[in-house]
Symmetry: C2
Subunit: 436 residues, 2 copies
């Protein structure tokens, strides 16, 4: 039986999970592929011993032990970050090793260089685990939906942010309190910025857009807003209007230009994305032929992410053994068909909006605010003014009809500049039916 | 550029959709694969002309025109049924053609013979479109979840049945009325038996189980109940208890034995499957590594199904051009590892139950019924007795704790045999948390 040997860099959560999946599923993989996939080496500067059942695995602290081992076919990078990880991935490729990684930051920031280097060296780079943990999102996009122009991508791609919003929804607990609790329990990072400010989600959107549309896109092209300004009161108002608040990545394909945005969004409660709670992720692709397809599962975690890493290893192992490396192009389109495209500026967006305006409860305030909105072509669909007064301040909550983002920004700047305004207005974009 | 030629048998809804997808997506497929995939021939005894844009396609009424054309690499069977379709598929294989089909009845009834013949002839059989329309379920199961023991399959796999149940839920309209309306509108078959009695769902479950577990299974092994006895009143009671009623295919893997059942099920309203409405399908696979993964989309329709058929065509075309036919085994496991397994008899099932007992409103009836249930070790969790009396009859509605199916069947036979009972009891199994 042909043997494929794997070298693993990084024995942290996902690294040790990947090793465990390879170990526990070895026989199943043999029965499915006719191949023996063997973890040969692990490199991790912080690890001195491996669990006993890995007695055939060579542990060391020097990545060159992997690169210079001619028996190793596939190098798995699971250290995270974008500096050392980049160096190691490029070195592995230059040594003629195939690479599997779960590193979304690395790919969204340096993907172009990595994929070009891989092409030049005739090796594959697998990255199923970089988006949506164990969910087979990338394979579905590249192969299952191959006969579709992807019209839109909409997804919940960060489990920490979704967990926080779900807890706020279920228990009315404030953002900071849930975040602290999640950090104490160890499933939110000590520095939660990437998760709650939407950056991690944007990394993943960049990866999906590249493949969905066959385009070059950089992280800087994505408009990003996080969830740290959302309060339980917004979640309650959302519910009254029939919505759930989710941190969504949204990209719609207009042919000559495409959207790329990450922000809290009010999702109609009948939409499948509204039902995705806790640490789960879900991504909806809309194809011109297939219409809506949604994939759902755990977006992180040791074993689910390990499952996706090993799926990539198996995919590459099949290609090695059958002599069909790069059978499916890494980025879905052949390199010569990957082109830049114009990113729609946020100012061109049109959708309905939710505003929570904090104002002194003075006579005439609502009339002043309505006047400003009207001047900027923003029509109010409904208004709620009922929250209890807090230190003389009252929230005015509005849902608008479809309006232009540029106008909204101008109007809110004016409103927030009023003498009666006591805090920056909370603005949340609303997903409409024609966006679904 | 390498050209792959396709022969299509059957130019009905899915056949013409497949032709259309190939036509509209030809350039996209070239940009993604470097291959030109060309529809060369169509055979359909009922079609005399093709739309004008298919002017390069040769139309005829004799399947041998396809089989004997040496330029044709892939034959697509889309006539449905299990007699002519079987003959044509086997003939295509024996002529050395790869086959793509959406025919779940054919595969669930004659799959073994077809896959063995294909293996003997060194050709592939693609069948992504046979389950879940355009959803890339089969590729996800065979490749994306390759590193998982599949612990369970739970799915809504028939759009007609799900549409009827959704309409009953939203509008309280009786089953027969919605069915008639759906037939009038052309999206339920004139003979709806396969759809509403669960047979179509069972066909699909057979296909998924074969691949998920690496086992032989026949349609006769599946316990099947349809939805025709469900009434709006049951849907209302379900809602009171916090459930939605769905026609589910359920299979759990206990290692030495596996479940195979299709029946109406009360699904907790917080479960993702409860949110799948209308003509949509969704299947949840639970893997030992990845945990729950759910895929959702349109389970039928001309273009969505065409999208899946063309995904299979592209997959095979890539394998032809790269010389790696059967890179992934047709049934996920290598043929020598596909084994029979014991199917759990329904009598061994344990779950909570919903009963709607129709009885005369006589004194002592509830006590008699409770006595029968108690004798059979069935504990009542809650009881509702409030429906208006109809011709002296009153419904007694109960939810039980977990009970044994064999006992339930015996108890219901006794209850239905009481002089006070006016109709057969409606029994619906309840999905519990540990089943999720």
């Amino acid at each position: 039986m042909k043997e494929i040997q794997v070298g693993l860099i990084g024995f942290g959560t996902v690294g040790s999970g990947t090793a465990q999946v390879l170990y526990e599923q070895a026989e199943r993989i043999r029965k499915r592929t006719g191949l023996s996939i063997v973890l040969r080496r692990v490199v991790d500067i912080g690890v001195d011993t491996l669990p006993a059942h890995f007695h055939n695995v060579i542990l060391s602290k020097d990545v060159n032990d992997i690169f210079s081992d001619p028996d190793i076919d596939i190098v798995v990078e699971l250290i995270g970050g974008t500096t050392l990880a980049k160096t190691f991935v490029l070195q592995a490729i230059e040594h003629g090793k195939h690479v599997v990684t779960a590193n979304k930051a690395l790919l969204s920031e340096h993907g172009r260089e990595i994929f070009e280097t891989a092409a030049a060296n005739g090796v594959e780079v697998g990255f199923e685990a970089s988006v949506g943990g164990g969910i087979p999102l990338i394979k579905s996009l590249k192969e299952g939906l191959v006969a579709n122009k992807i019209m839109s991508i909409m997804g919940i791609m960060n489990g920490t942010a979704n967990y926080i919003l779900s807890q706020m929804t279920d228990h009315g607990t404030p953002f900071a309190e849930i975040l602290k609790d999640a950090q104490d329990k160890g499933f939110a990072e000590a520095d939660p910025t990437y998760d709650v400010e939407g950056i991690d989600t944007a990394h993943k959107l960049v990866i999906l857009m590249t493949m969905a549309y066959g385009m070059n896109i950089r992280l800087e092209d994505v408009a990003i807003e996080g969830i740290s300004r959302i309060e339980p009161i917004d979640i309650n108002f959302a519910r009254e209007f029939g919505y759930r608040i989710k941190l969504l990545a949204i990209s719609r394909n207009y042919g000559d230009h495409v959207e790329a945005r990450v922000h809290p969004t009010m999702v109609p409660e009948t939409h499948m994305l509204a039902s995705i709670n806790g640490a789960y992720n879900g991504v909806q692709f809309t194809g011109d032929m297939v219409e809506d397809v949604l994939l759902y599962g755990l977006g992180a975690g040791k074993m689910p992410t390990g499952s996706a890493v090993v799926a990539d290893i198996v995919d590459i192992a099949r290609n090695i053994s059958r002599g069909c490396i790069n059978r499916v192009p890494a980025l879905s389109y052949l390199p010569e068909h990957i082109k830049p495209r114009r990113i729609t500026p946020m100012a061109e967006l049109r959708c309905p909006y939710y505003f929570r305006i904090s104002t002194l409860d003075n006579p005439g305030v609502l009339s002043t605010i309505s006047g400003i909105l009207g001047k900027h072509d923003i029509s109010i669909e409904s208004v709620i003014q009922k929250g209890r007064r807090q230190q003389g301040t009252v929230p005015i909550v509005m849902r608008t009809y479809e309006a232009g983002e540029a106008n909204v920004q101008k109007a809110l700047a004016e409103i927030d500049g009023l003498e009666t305004s006591t805090d920056k207005t909370v603005m949340i974009r609303i997903l409409t039916d024609h966006e679904e």
